[in-house]
Symmetry: C2
Subunit: 207 residues, 2 copies
Amino acid sequence: MTKDIESTILKAASSVFVKDGYDGARMNVIAEKAGINKALLHYYFRSKNHLFQMVFERLMHDFFSSIYREVSMDTDFRTYLDNFVSIYLNTISKRPYVIRFMIWELGHGSGTVNELIGRIMKKWEIKEIPVITAVQRAIDRGEIRAVDPIQLFISLIALCIFPFAARAILENKVEGLKVLSKEFVEARKEAILDLIWNGISLKEDDR
Amino acid sequence: MTKDIESTILKAASSVFVKDGYDGARMNVIAEKAGINKALLHYYFRSKNHLFQMVFERLMHDFFSSIYREVSMDTDFRTYLDNFVSIYLNTISKRPYVIRFMIWELGHGSGTVNELIGRIMKKWEIKEIPVITAVQRAIDRGEIRAVDPIQLFISLIALCIFPFAARAILENKVEGLKVLSKEFVEARKEAILDLIWNGISLKEDDR
DNA sequence: GTTAAATTTGACTATATGGTTAAAGTGAAT
DNA sequence: ATTCACTTTAACCATATAGTCAAATTTAAC
């Protein structure tokens, strides 16, 4: 069935592109991985470029829709943050390679890729970034200090994403660290929330 | 002079490799950029692979030696952190593309690259990670809460590095954000230190 | 000035790779 | 069974690209 083979190809292409990048990916490798002839790739997807765009769009969609799914805003900010961090870490730890890939390909600055981003951002309407509005509201409500919402937003995703993006470096530098392990992900969750809420200053009871 | 042309080549190669990655880089482009014949590349540097290794090693050395320079340990932790964040942000904001490049190439997991990392890490003796020991000492001295030093280390570099690694995405999502601007770098510095020390809980005086 | 070594170049090669094509296979509708 | 559209394949093609080489040119030593 056509739908079947198409998704087989897309899956194979995804894994190759994500690992090797656009320039490093080879059509014959993708074909082999999909268990088909190389010419079939060009039958189903006109060109490498076209195939890449399909893959890329699919990845971004999957990624963002996983992340932007119901983080109910109708809670106190503490609960909101708990959910946010939890969902981010779960989503990313399941797709650790995608982050590296996205940082690489999105940073390319090529016209083609930039248009692609534009289209995708529009398509999945990454509007107003929910976190930022949530932060602003928490401040207005007096739930948290009046920090810069954009900086906090950047800090939040940095704390969640970075360990997976820089996994290779971290695991090389910190003996025994296993970023993808369940234990680390859980510990990371705790650490982020603790840091975000309390910083590192001594608590009153510790003085 | 031979030393001169070698460094000219290395500079050209750096810029091309950092932007396009190993797979995307083209020897003739490097040659053009260095203002020499393509064959000269192979005269001075045996092969693309060899040239890449030279470039990579040089970049890593430059990067780490910039970062690990005198962050005097003989201060209170607050001053230490100020210096740390300041140096990190300054170093990275001057080389924003290198981060993306390192995340990409180091994450490749190929045998060649991994050996390379190993050699470099050994060579520039990235030992025991100074921050971690500094954190531990601050805890022992009762300067800060007893947080996990490794998690704090990861958080620190995440907060500093991420905005530059993910610059393309961030600037696309946040209208008007200019990650490389002096203003942002300064604001980021403040935000990181503020968050690290105080978290986002309400201060007593705000209640 | 002559010689020898180091440097530089243009022309070339081998190969890998994205892409094409024409022909063969398959299956459903009539 | 014939037709016809869809699918699949092997064999090609054109080009790009890393790498080579022999000859030319410059530099340094004497």
